[in-house]
């Protein structure tokens, strides 16, 4: 701020003379000629005295130029150069009063205290018609011809030099043309270079140049300098139209905070009205648009104003802005309404995309698919959105009831995409609807497109088992057994494997396999490691096709309800978790070993926003030994021996007094042995976790040997908390590290995957984030979609 105030002071006090003195060297055609003699600053571009615009430009380098330069620009009063009156006299003799007035105004600005002579129309001592012609060419905007005339005369008369004023004015006029052309061509560095070379352009007389300079600064990541350019106009220029336009220009390129700084310079008219009232809606629209981009909450007053404007207006833009805002704010229902309004006014790719994302966020994937399908050809983004929605739709659990046509077209489009994830989704859908042969085809296809797609290999293994195709199963086992524990586990005890569909044939109506048959794997190279199995599997596929054709029932896939539901969700990203659970707890719906951890993570905030920290996590339910015996003041048993100490600890835990519980467990650890000691160390670790003392928890966990199960459980707990705490502290790299360690013990469920995704997002590792969000969204979880939206917006902005 001080810098710019000084800058303005320099300008208004008219200390610009230094420029004119140095600016008019005889050979001033070259832009470099306009540089004043250097005054020792390092950057040659911005050396020396800095009149008006030059001060603005000087700040471009972020140097504290203003304060140093300002005194340097003031020539001692006596050496103030005299203005060159050639142009003034010429225009006066021509009777061109408009130009005379403009020239007088210009000279007054440059030479404060100067006033025009009253003998302007008197002939000068000697006429110079050739020079008059040059001025005329200049006045007509024929700069190349004026230059040419100067060059011709100089060639004819080597002693002749053009008047400094003519050279300076030509430099300015051409500089302006070059600045505009460079700006039109988005050559921002050239814009700024020209502005530095011809600083006299940057005055209220030429707001357009100032705006272009502001735009160039903004586009080269110099937002403060950009603001200064617009601020210069609002502080110094009085034209109401120019001032209004300046705010609009600034809105297009500046962030809201800086626009707000500019708005403090708003003036009140004689009628008491604020001068920017008429662009208030633009300002608000822009603010809400930016709030959506940066995922910040917009002011209620702004929202209600724009909503009013949107409702009463006819444009699709306002509802679109509101739609994106509400979508980012996780109000998908409101977003949907606005997107629908936008679509009804103008059906564009963007409005369709908004609707699709909102519907998908609401879990209404079928509707989303219906909107997306006809719109998928409207833009590449829309096509991507369609594929994501189609994948999510098929991966929804329980498998939705789909029209045959819908199923056929989603499968067709996902097949066209040639991405393993899409083929995998169709595979799971087929599997979930008991079309095992078709599932085999799709999983095989997915592996053809990505030979490392483990979930597809797993799906294939399950399918072969289901089909009792031992040869097929063994092939998968052979290829994947060493790489995938869950596939290896399938071989250990078939009873443990998840039976997605009971082997008993329940006559499930089928869609013809032909309808959702995968495209052939065209590129044999892509099949990679499983090429052998493809050819051998083809027999099974043929058999399945025949069977399917025999069982063909048109029109509908049976709703998931009438197909015996698999015990677990089958969405690919969840499969690992499910299997682990099934393996360790074969009994139906046994209490899950990870209950505490699940509880903790269920309390994680929905990671639908990149910046919001999860709420405090507390561990509430603990698998604890029964509490019994004498009770202390807290109502918990007093610690008379190691066992009662431990019981007291558990009791205090229940009372949410973890610090006291830690002390009680300590007693039990120090005095107890064996199981008691182990339990107490476990309790102490949990108490530390609940108290948020993750580090201590890790130490406590080592105070007594823990059973492998508890050891894993504690590690998972600790790492979970560490990840959460790191995320809360915005230490995203550490978040990832903790999550990576944690994933060595247990698979990551969706909420933690979202945390991982947002951590990548915050680290600007957008492709990693995208991978995670895509995986989550494919489980049918709308949070993933919101993450993808956020990435799209950020990367879209970068590309712009």
């Amino acid at each position: 701020m001080p810098v710019s105030r000084i800058a303005i002071a320099v300008v208004v006090s008219g200390l610009a003379a230094g420029y004119l003195v140095s600016g008019g060297s005889p050979d001033a055609r070259d832009v470099q000629d306009t540089r004043p003699v250097g005054s020792g600053r390092a950057d040659p571009l911005y050396t020396g005295s800095l009149p008006r615009g030059r001060v603005l430009m000087a700040q471009a380098e972020g140097a504290s130029a203003g304060a140093d330069a300002a005194p340097g620009t003031a020539p001692a009063a006596g050496d103030a150069p005299k203005p060159d009156l050639t142009a003034l006299r010429y225009f006066s003799r021509q009777g061109d009063q408009r130009r005379v007035d403009a020239e007088i105004a210009r000279l007054r600005l440059l030479y404060p205290g100067w006033s025009p002579p009253d003998n302007l129309n008197e002939p000068e001592q000697v006429g110079d018609p050739e020079l008059d012609r040059m001025w005329q060419l200049f006045a007509d905007g024929k700069y190349a011809e004026a230059r040419s005339a100067v060059a011709a005369r100089r060639a004819a008369d080597p002693r002749w030099t053009p008047p400094e004023d003519l050279t300076a004015r030509l430099n300015e006029a051409e500089g302006r043309a070059r600045l505009m052309n460079a700006s039109d061509a988005k050559q921002w560095e050239t814009v700024l270079q020209v502005a530095a070379e011809v600083p006299n352009l940057l005055t209220c007389a030429d707001p357009e140049s100032l705006w272009r300079v502001g735009e160039a600064f903004a586009n080269t990541d110099r937002a403060d300098r950009a603001r200064d350019a617009f601020q210069y106009v609002l502080k110094n220029c009085d034209d109401a139209g120019v001032r209004l336009a300046t705010v609009q220009k600034a809105l297009a390129v500046l962030d809201i905070a800086r626009v707000d700084q500019l708005l403090t310079l708003e003036r009140k008219g004689a009628d008491g009205k604020s001068e920017f009232e008429t662009v208030r809606a633009d300002i608000v629209r822009s603010k809400i648009g930016r709030a959506a981009e940066t995922n910040q909450t917009a002011a209620a007053a702004d929202l209600s104003m724009l909503e009013n404007v949107a409702r009463t207006g006819t444009s699709a833009d306002d509802p679109l802005v509101l739609g994106w805002y509400y979508l980012r704010q996780n109000h998908a229902d409101q977003a949907l309404t606005w997107f629908q309004m936008a679509t009804s006014r103008e059906d564009t790719a963007k409005s369709a995309e908004g609707q699709v994302l909102a519907l998908s966020a609401l879990g209404r994937n079928q509707e989303a698919e219906q909107v997306a399908y006809p719109a998928r050809t409207k833009s590449d983004d829309m096509l991507k959105a369609y594929r994501i929605v189609a994948t999510a739709l098929l991966a929804t659990d329980p498998a939705p009831r789909l029209e045959a046509g819908v199923l056929a077209r989603t499968a067709d489009e996902l097949g066209r995409a040639r991405e393993a994830s899409g083929a995998q989704a169709v595979g799971w859908y087929s599997y979930n609807t008991n079309q095992i042969g078709t599932a085999i085809q799709w999983f095989t296809t997915a592996l053809g497109w990505d030979p490392n797609d483990e979930p597809s290999a797993y799906g294939l293994a399950l399918s072969y088992q289901n089909q009792k195709d031992r040869a097929g199963f063994n092939r998968i086992l052979q290829q994947w057994g060493s790489r995938s524990q869950r596939i290896a586990d399938l071989a250990v005890d078939p009873r443990r494997r998840r039976s997605a569909a009971p082997p008993v044939a329940i006559p499930a109506p089928k869609i013809s396999t032909a309808q959702i048959a995968p495209p052939a794997v065209r590129d044999p190279v892509q099949t990679g490691g499983i090429s052998g199995s493809i050819s051998r599997a083809s027999d099974a596929i043929r058999a399945e096709r025949a069977a399917a054709a025999a069982a063909y029932t048109p029109s509908r896939v049976q709703a998931a309800a009438s197909v015996p539901a698999p015990p677990q969700p089958i969405a690919p990203a969840m499969v690992r978790e499910t299997v682990r659970e099934t393996v360790s707890e074969p009994a139906p719906r046994a209490p899950r070993a990870m209950s505490r951890e699940d509880l903790a993570s269920s309390m994680l905030d929905d990671f639908s926003e990149p910046v919001r920290a999860p709420r405090e996590v507390t561990v509430t339910q603990v698998n604890q030994p029964a509490v019994r015996g004498a009770k202390g003041p807290s109502g918990c048993p007093l610690a008379r021996n190691p066992t009662t100490a431990a019981n007291r600890g558990w009791c205090l835990m229940e009372l949410e007094r973890p610090m006291e519980a830690i002390a009680a467990f300590d007693v039990a650890i120090q005095t107890g042995t064996g199981q008691v000691k182990e339990d107490a160390a476990y309790g102490k670790a949990l108490a530390n976790l609940r108290a948020g003392l993750t580090g201590n928890a890790a130490v406590a966990a080592t105070e007594a040997a823990q059973s492998p199960r508890r050891s894993v459980e504690l590690s998972v707990q600790i790492l979970t908390q560490r990840a959460i705490a790191s995320y809360r502290d915005e230490k995203y790299a550490e978040t990832i590290i903790a999550l990576n360690e944690r994933s060595r013990y247990v698979p990551e469920q969706n909420d933690l995957m979202m945390m991982r995704g947002w951590a990548y997002f915050n680290l600007r590792r957008y492709s990693d984030a995208q991978r995670i969000f895509t995986a989550v969204s494919k489980t049918g979880d709308a949070a993933g979609m919101r993450g993808l939206v956020a990435i799209g917006e950020v990367t879209g902005r970068i590309k712009d």
Binding site: D27, D30, D33, Y143, A144, R147, S148, N181, A182, T190
Partner: protein, 356 residues
């Protein structure tokens, strides 16, 4: 032979030793000889037809657009005609309308029917070279340091942005984007006619830090590698990926671009007969043609005087053949052949005046 001599000479030059003793003309002597090699009448007619008052040189055979090539040729011919006023006029347009790129190169094309007039920000390296070369000559000839400064910064930008190394060879990318190895499957792609050999001495004087001699040697090597099909003529665009071959997506033709190659060689004094032999053979009738390089068969005949002047210059240089009387008279046709016509006349007047 000459190429090798030239390279040695350039090395000596780099060491600061004058090179005239080796018999290769590199010096101001040649430049001043160029000045005046186009007559006032010829240049006046050219300006009248192709140069607008605002300094724009119009390619009337190409929808009335301008490009850095037309502007550069205009500036070079203004030097040859010793017309500082015309030069200033054309340079003013070039600078304000086209010399806009952040990297200091010029946007190659200016379209009167588009707004903004620059529709493609890419450069064309031969246009930049022509402009820098003409500016350098003009700065010396008319003692205008401003021209020299502009020439120097353009030369440095050309060096930084368009010279690449390929298989140990120095090559010139036809544009800052779109032609490099990373840009195209068959990249790098070069245009053999973009080597304006006569400019390299001047560029070296302007920007001694760049190895322009190696770029020249690379250009000569490209010409040798570019011989295609039975005719041995070069294609317009050559891929240097693997064995050099005509670049994908362009007709496999010897055509309007490549026709200037003999002219450029001769103007630089590179008159080795072997290198010029395919052109001489193809133009035996005195009238150049577009040639289908696969078959070696001539297609469209290029009968305008300007194209015939290129052939006449070649026969003059190799066989001392007199330039036909009809070609000694310049009257403008279309921009491109007219330009070649004046460059040919300028060449013969400078180096082979006995042919006139």
């Amino acid at each position: 032979m000459i190429g090798r001599t030239f390279k040695t000479c350039a090395k000596i030059l780099a060491a600061g030793v004058a090179c005239l003793v080796l018999g290769v003309s590199l010096s101001v002597a040649q430049e001043t000889k160029m000045v005046g090699s186009v007559t006032d009448a010829e240049w006046g007619a050219y300006k009248q037809k192709f140069v607008q008052p605002n300094g724009r040189v119009v390619d009337d055979g190409n929808g009335g657009i301008s490009h850095t090539e037309s502007q550069g040729y205009g500036m070079l011919l203004a030097v040859a005609a010793n017309d500082p006023a015309g030069f200033e006029q054309i340079w003013t347009f070039t600078r304000t309308q086209m010399l806009l790129r952040d990297d200091g190169l010029a946007a190659w094309k200016w379209d009167p029917n588009a707004k903004p007039h620059i529709t493609d920000i890419n450069n064309a390296t031969d246009g930049d070279i022509l402009i820098a070369y003409a500016l350098g000559l003009a700065g010396t000839n008319w003692k205008q340091t401003g021209y020299t400064r502009a020439a120097r910064s353009l030369a440095k930008a050309i060096s930084t942005r368009t010279i690449a190394e390929h298989n140990g060879m120095s090559i010139m990318l036809p544009g800052a984007s779109g032609f490099a190895k990373a840009d195209r499957a068959d990249g790098p792609v070069v245009n053999p006619s973009y080597w304006i050999f006569e400019a390299f001495d001047e560029l070296k004087r302007l920007d001694p830090e760049t190895d322009w001699a190696s770029l020249q040697a690379g250009g000569l090597k490209v010409l040798d590698m570019a011989r295609t099909g039975p005719s041995g003529l070069p294609p317009e665009w050559l891929s240097l990926a693997g064995t050099p071959h005509p670049a994908d997506g362009f007709p496999v033709q010897f055509s309007y671009n490549a026709i200037r190659i003999p002219l450029y060689l001769l103007r630089a004094g590179l008159d080795e007969a072997g290198r010029l032999a395919p052109y001489k053979k193809a133009w035996a009738s005195g009238i150049p043609s577009v040639v289908n390089l696969s078959s070696g068969a001539p297609a469209t005949q290029l009968g305008e005087p300007g194209y015939r002047m290129v052939a006449a210059s070649l026969f003059c240089a190799l066989d001392k053949a007199a330039v036909p009387a009809s070609l000694k008279q310049f009257s403008p046709t279309l921009y491109y052949p007219s330009t070649l016509h004046l460059l040919g006349l300028s060449l013969v007047r400078q180096r082979y005046s006995t042919c006139l």
